[in-house]
Amino acid sequence: MSDVLVYVLHYDGAFNKNSLGAISEGAARAAEVGGACDAVVVGAGASLGDDLCRSLGRYGARRVFRAEGPEGLAQPVVDVMDRVISEHGHRYAIFGGGLLGFEIGAGLAARRRAGVTMEVTAVRAQDGELVADRPILGDTKISVSRYRGELGIIIGRINAFEVREVGGDQAEVVDLSVEYSPWSMQAEMVTRGEQRGADIDIEGADVLVAGGRGLGNAEGFQMAEQLAGAFGGNAAVAATRAVVDAGWYPYAAQIGQTGKTVSPKLYLAAGISGAIQHKVGMQSSENIVAINKDPNAPIFEFSDLGVVGDLNKILPKLTEAIRTRKAG
């Protein structure tokens, strides 16, 4: 028996898309190795109603283990998953990526002396076991992980697992009463999901001008805004996590692992190095143009057109040229 256990993150009455993808992936792969996929949810009882939990059956979950506990923190979930696995002997745990997935997967690996692989882009069944593909060295190689011991932990890269509806709303809900570890209770959520800055819609834009550290400072974003303005119509400005954390641009405009995933017709990256955490949020854009002063920036490896140069020189002239073209 090779069952798979998936943690499903929820917020504001809805499940996380990456978690649902992990269930779909877990159910499909478990079936190939003679098992089934179960889910774990942890939260305030009222936020996890029976109907909501049963709906996980749609994505392939057989059972949903539901525990009352703090939301948005990793270690209470480690306690719950540890308990479920010790009672039911799941062979694999799969996470859909995101920050909590990393933390819970790593904590569970420590707790159960398990192997863990992160940034996984594909899970495959091979000789009755699951193996995980992980891109390494800036996605230039793929390393294949095989697991020894009783539990293998797979933390997916964001958007790696497709959400597929395969069943009905009939997952069996199993309530658990869990005694949490003292150290799990040492952390307390004060505020969760705070949105900072203006509410900007970048997901519907056809053209995105995205700015990173290379813009120099918050004022540098004016160049990006003017360029987006020159494209007119359905163009907007997006940002990397580094500049959002630095307070240069609003969180709602952030692309990447903890931000939004976009696929516009044109993605123009200005001063963005192209770290994996950013790449996962924009790599399916139809056309990628990158301007960066560092010729070794990883973004040049996945851009369609790359320009090595100074943004302060190029952006204003590009803005002017596009305006002229549009006017003509």
């Binding site: 690996a109 192997g115 793929i142 040492q186 999901g193 705070e194 954390d245 903890t258 140069g309």
Partner: protein
């Protein structure tokens, strides 16, 4: 209180990284440097000490790695750590993340820190996970990718960006916290600090010294085996050129956009 900062030596960012075909492990030879994220962790420790809200008696840099890793410790000391602890043992080579976290936790147990700080990821492994592994072994609460850290009574008030926006979390000490690069601007070490770094106390310990169970570390003790490497699906390489004449550069970009009907 005592703060331990976990540091790591990584290949210099400018050096091309590769897998050694004979061992299947990352080739870690070549130019090395202190992991840039770790300098933010040291700076966070220094700011806690200088902030005065907590009495920080000692900042200890801790690393695991071969003899060469001592340079990362010297750098950490030049940035403000008081002394360092170097866990070095041939039996640890080839440890996966879970085994590495276990070994580091055993070294930390010997120090009984009130706070463990580390960089949220290493430049070579792109891995956010080591802090959470260490924390569970130490039975401490943990938070990763923290971008703001304040003292709040007997606890820390921490902020980070999570799946749905910014979270603020209060964590009682002792705790293991990994920090992101937006948390601070690390200071540059003074020449005097660089010169003096080698004179600060540095203790080297083996796996046996810190009570590591040999069956849980090294390639054989690791539960993940990565022995096979594949090429990713080929993607047509894009065109890259250098801006020499900005008017010509802009014309080329515009032509490219027009060809694709993007303007």
């Amino acid at each position: 209180m005592k703060i331990c900062v976990l540091v790591k030596e990584v290949p210099d960012a400018a050096v091309e990284k590769r897998i050694d075909p004979s061992t299947g492990r990352m080739d870690r030879s070549g130019e090395r440097n202190l992991n840039p994220y770790d300098t933010h962790a040291i700076e966070a420790a220094m700011q806690l000490r200088e902030g005065g809200a907590l009495q920080v008696d000692e900042i200890v840099a801790v690393t695991m790695g071969p003899e060469s890793a001592v340079r990362a410790l010297h750098k950490a000391v030049s940035l403000g750590a008081d002394r360092s602890l170097h866990l070095s043992d041939g039996s640890l080579a080839g440890s996966d993340v879970a085994a590495t976290g276990y070994a580091l936790a055993k070294a930390l147990e010997r120090e009984s820190p009130d706070l463990v700080l580390l960089g949220q990821q290493s430049d070579d492994g792109e891995c956010y996970t080591i802090g959470a592994v260490v924390a569970d072994h130490l039975r401490m609460p943990s938070l990763t990718q923290v971008v703001k850290l304040e003292v709040d009574g007997d606890a820390l008030r921490l902020e980070r960006q999570a799946e749905y926006g910014y979270d603020t979390v209060r964590v009682k000490l002792p705790a293991v916290i990994s920090v992101g690069d937006a948390i601070n601007e690390p200071r540059y070490p003074s020449l005097k600090a660089i010169m003096g770094a080698k004179k600060k106390p540095l203790e080297m310990v083996s796996a046996v010294d810190v009570g590591i169970d040999a069956s849980l570390v090294g390639a054989d003790g690791s539960r993940v085996h990565c022995g096979e490497f594949k090429e990713p699906p080929a993607k047509a390489a894009g065109q890259v050129f250098e801006d020499e004449n900005t008017d010509e550069t802009v014309a080329k970009i515009v032509d490219w956009l027009v060809e694709r009907k993007l303007i």
